[in-house]
């Protein structure tokens, strides 16, 4: 295919604005979909989890052919992940494109991820095609959303396309517009190979399948390639393109999107954002924008049954093959026994990993509350990165502590301005900017500690705005904070898995809440159990669980025996789910109790 007839593009949108449905329509209009797939919806989302949650986790490139004015065009659609946890992956997928369709729901208007994705696309120099989707719905406010696109994002009225992906309205025109407005890729097949990795997955039979966009040169079977960030060299086994599976071709040329298989054993060796070049005559500089992915959120994962420790290790290793952003190291908790401290891109990524471990690998987990990474400067001049509250140094040794901050954009109907500001203030936020998108809609830019955002910030935001606000954030580095370690003692023993790092001003309130919640969660036992919260060696809250005095089946006669047996069995089953901490049996929910706040 001539370069002039290739278009590489992506669809970007806020969640639920109709990205996947639009992709389905494209596949239909270009006859790209295998027949048996047509009945399914959101065909590009392959994982059960993606469909259930209605989100995209992995990139899903697909090649389509479209004929316009008797010319055949090759369109590469790169469907990108749709969540803030994966914004780096999104930015790399966008870097593989020349243009993007910005989809906005006609009933919702611009939301936080619309803005975030718009900015990412501009940073990558993409040509944007603004689309208002769902125009068939009764609640559609096409004129209003048009104004938002014009006033806030600087589009021209005649640029905006009106579409209903569900009804197929405007889809042909959109395909034509893609070809007309999005420029063909530039690049030179005669130059040295320069290709961007924008995703990868591990295939147990073939090794890593690298998703790539070739910018210059050609890659073909038998060629020696080099990963520029690691220097590793591989021999190419196969190249090809995507269309519901892998389709081998002779080569991938400058401007094309496709895959490379080169006997790579671990996804870590095909890092998203890295540049692939010719091992024999490498280019001097990699393509811009490469970053090593760093986990933002950590938690402890422990097997419910200690004999599942090895299963958990194996499952994590298998997941990691496909998910280089997942990191883990063994952790031995006094309370929960052997397990792993795991790092994630964000809380959604964490939930997905936990769910996959339980669902796909059958490992029952106890997860501790998530935390961020803290940077601790000690009095003796060391700097420690702490990803586990139990390893927070003794307060006497600490010079200062820094915690990660994020820039948060919140879009909310203007009637909730007061509530949003109050919420952010309570979460230690500082307001940077507030702008009207239109008279009814406001965008706030706040700086907030990440730790406050990962807990229940989004739920709270939704509840104070009756579900109307949307949220996006990006990291902006570490800032000094007055942080302390809040320890929880059960029957006098500090429980490592229950400690958290919190701002000093919040410590007492949180301590009181936590001991209260634990009091309700820990079943009464034969002895009194004091539950205490302490900061820097000082007890700041205390509750007592009185001893169990009575627990006995009453009447138990002939016919009853079977029924009563079932009752006792149930009671015993329940006990199995308790973790023994010293003398005290603690239910697993307790380890998450420290998460919620009133």
């Amino acid at each position: 295919m001539r370069l002039e007839n290739i278009r590489n593009f992506s669809i970007i949108a806020h969640i639920d604005h109709g990205k996947s449905t639009l992709a389905d329509r494209f596949l239909e209009k270009t006859n790209s979909m295998p027949k048996k797939k047509v009945a399914e919806e959101q065909v590009l989302d392959q994982m059960d989890l993606e469909r259930e949650r209605g989100i995209t986790i992995k990139s899903h490139p697909v090649r389509m052919y479209y004929i316009l004015n008797e010319e055949e065009y090759e369109l590469h659609l790169i469907d990108t992940p749709g969540h803030v946890d994966f914004s780096y992956e999104v930015s790399r997928s966008l870097a593989a494109c020349e243009g993007a369709i910005l989809v906005v729901d006609a009933t919702q208007g611009i939301e936080a991820q619309t803005l975030a994705n718009y900015n990412l696309a501009l940073e990558n120099g993409l040509v944007l095609v603004p689309v208002i989707n769902k125009i068939d719905l009764p609640g559609a406010e096409v004129e209003r959303v048009k104004r938002q696109l014009i006033d806030s994002l600087g589009f021209l009225e005649n640029e905006i396309l009106l579409v209903s992906a569900k009804e197929g309205i405007g889809v042909d025109e959109l395909l034509r517009t893609i070809i007309e407005r999005i420029p063909p890729p530039k690049g030179d097949v005669n130059k040295t190979l320069e290709a961007l990795i924008f995703d990868a997955y591990f295939d147990p039979y073939r090794g890593v399948v690298v998703y790539t966009r070739v910018f210059n040169g050609i890659v073909e079977k038998g060629m020696k390639i080099k990963m520029m960030s690691t220097g590793a060299v591989y021999e190419v086994d196969e190249v090809g393109y995507f269309s519901f599976g892998l389709h081998p071709t002779d080569s991938l040329k400058a401007g094309e999107v496709g895959y490379i298989i080169a006997n790579i054993k671990n996804v870590k060796d095909a890092q998203v954002g890295d540049t692939i070049t010719d091992a024999n005559s490498p280019v001097e500089k990699p393509l811009p924008g490469f970053k090593r992915i760093k986990p933002m959120v950590y938690c402890g994962l422990f097997p419910q049954e200690s004999n599942q420790y090895e299963d958990l290790r194996e499952s994590l290793e298998k997941l990691q093959l496909n998910d280089p952003a997942l990191v883990f190291e063994p952790e031995n908790s006094e309370a929960l026994g052997p397990g792993f401290r795991c790092g994630f891109l964000g809380t959604l990524h964490m939930e997905i990993v936990e769910e996959r471990l339980e669902r796909e690998y059958g490992v029952k987990l106890v997860a501790t509350a998530p935390n961020v990474v803290y940077r601790v400067y000690t009095r003796d001049g060391n700097v420690l990165e702490i990803n586990n509250p139990s390893q927070f140094p003794h307060y006497g040794l600490i010079e200062k502590v820094e915690e990660p901050y994020v820039k948060v954009s919140i879009i909310s109907p203007s009637e909730f301005i007061g509530s949003v500001m109050e919420l952010c203030l309570g979460k230690r936020g500082s307001l940077i900017e507030m702008n009207y998108i239109d008279p009814m809609k406001v965008v706030f830019i706040y700086e907030l500690p990440l730790s406050e955002v990962i807990f229940d910030f989004f739920d709270k935001l939704k509840s104070v705005t009756r579900g109307y606000a949307s949220l996006d954030y990006e990291p902006i580095g570490f800032r000094e904070s007055d942080l302390v370690k809040l320890e929880v003692l059960v029957k006098g023993e500090p429980v490592d898995a229950l400690s958290i790092i919190t701002h000093r001003d919040e410590a007492e309130r949180k301590g009181r809440e936590i001991v209260k919640r634990l009091r309700a969660l820990i079943p009464r036992q034969l002895f009194e159990i004091p539950i205490q919260a302490s900061v820097n060696g000082k007890i700041i809250a205390r509750e007592n669980i009185p001893p169990l005095k009575k627990n006995v089946l009453q009447k138990c006669y002939g016919g009853d025996v079977t029924r009563k047996k079932k009752l006792l069995e149930k009671q015993k089953e329940g006990k199995k789910r308790l973790k023994q901490i010293g003398q005290v049996e603690v239910p697993q929910e307790a380890f998450l109790a420290i998460l919620k706040s009133e």
Binding site: K550, Q554, K555, C556, Y557, G558, V561, T562, K565, Q571
Partner: protein, 376 residues
């Protein structure tokens, strides 16, 4: 000769109590006769002269609402079919709202020698909360009537843990009941909120407040103190008797010995086999009148299951259970299998062990479930 206990279920009530989740039918006179016919058929199908009967228990429901003619037919049938041991125990449960002197006299004439009266409480407010059909006055009158017609083995059922019950009202109920020195047996049950009952619903909807555990424990202790003053000894989790008046029928259950149950939802145990009848009265009647068995469920206990059951039921008794006897009856060495649990329970002060016998301690009596569940 097979020694057995016989349980006869009379599944009718004038009105269901608000805490009751047993299967029972509203009062329906046309059903009584049909039911009696079916019951007699079941008795005839299963009983013969190879059985030597130690105890008969007429339970419910409310056996005392059955017309005397029907009751007489049932009892005569049993006596004709089986041998009865000389000192056999024959109990009928009665509701104070359903009896009179004549009825009680007839019961005596039928050979019934033990009467169990559902007093539950002698506080009218509490009786109302429970949904009982009788007043406290009628309850005491029933007790006096039973004494005056010559019953020498009398049980009273009492309930504690009733919403709004106080220590004073509990002392009052116990005191008034125990004043009758002819009383030989007391059953004391903590009120249970069984799912599906109106009382359970009221609890879930916050209309009533359950008694706090602390007060429950005090109520239990008060009962202990007063009962021992009157010469009652506790011999099972919920049962107290004067010496020699332990309920032999119920001991059959707790010792895992053989019993046959008749009537809908009645259970039977013969050796390692347990089975039960359909709970549906109409189905029960229909099946029997068409010469079919009402049995709908059966399980065979493995030796280990049987052994565990012997331990759990045996532990309900003050005497506890001899592990040697369990071994003899099942071939299972409980001590070998549960040595860790036994050690733990002894160290927690819930269980004691003398030679091969284990039993609940004073503390363990109120925390029996913690002990029982160890043996699953």
């Amino acid at each position: 000769m097979n020694k057995i206990a016989i349980y006869i279920h009379i599944p009718f009530c004038i009105k269901k109590c608000l805490y009751c989740d047993f299967f029972s039918f509203r009062f329906d006179i046309s059903l009584f006769h049909q039911y009696t016919k079916a019951l007699i058929k079941e008795l005839k199908l299963n009983l013969n002269k190879d059985y030597s009967v130690r105890t008969i228990y007429l339970g419910g429901g409310t056996p005392s609402i059955l017309p005397l003619d029907d009751l007489e037919d049932i009892i005569e049938t049993i006596f004709k079919l089986v041998k009865v041991e000389e000192d056999f125990e024959f109990t009928i449960e009665v509701n104070p709202g359903t009896i009179d002197r004549e009825k009680l006299k007839e019961y005596r004439n039928f050979g019934i020698n033990r009467i169990s009266i559902g007093i539950q409480s002698l506080n009218d407010e509490e009786l109302k909360v429970l949904g009982r059909i009788h007043s406290s006055k009628e309850a005491l009158e029933a007790l006096d009537m039973a004494i005056s017609v010559g019953f020498e083995n009398i049980n009273a059922d009492l309930i504690y843990g009733i919403p709004n019950q106080t220590l004073e009202s509990w002392r009052d109920t116990l005191g008034k009941t125990l004043k009758r020195e002819e009383l030989t047996h007391i059953s004391i049950y903590g009120l249970m909120y069984e799912p599906g009952t109106p009382l359970y619903k009221a609890l879930i909807n916050g209309k009533i407040e359950p008694m706090s555990e602390d007060i429950e424990v005090e109520v239990f202790n008060v009962a202990q103190e007063i009962l021992s003053k009157y010469g009652f000894i506790w011999y099972e989790i919920s049962n107290y008797a004067k010496k020699g008046y332990e309920c032999r029928h119920n001991l059959t259950y707790w010792r895992g010995e053989n019993y046959l149950g008749f009537g809908p939802s009645a259970h039977s145990l013969i050796g390692n086999i347990r089975y039960s009848n359909t709970p549906n009265i109409k189905a029960y009647v229909e099946l029997l009148l068409n010469n079919k068995t009402p049995k709908i469920w059966e399980e065979k206990l493995s030796p280990l299951e049987k052994a565990k059951e012997l331990v759990i039921l045996g532990l309900r008794l003050r005497e506890g259970i001899s592990l040697g006897v369990v071994y003899k009856r099942t071939g299972i060495n409980i001590e070998g299998i549960f040595s860790e649990s036994i050690k733990k329970l002894v160290s927690q002060g819930l269980l004691y062990k003398r030679e091969d016998r284990i039993a609940l301690t004073e503390k363990g009596r109120l925390l029996g479930n913690l002990v029982f569940e160890e043996f699953y």
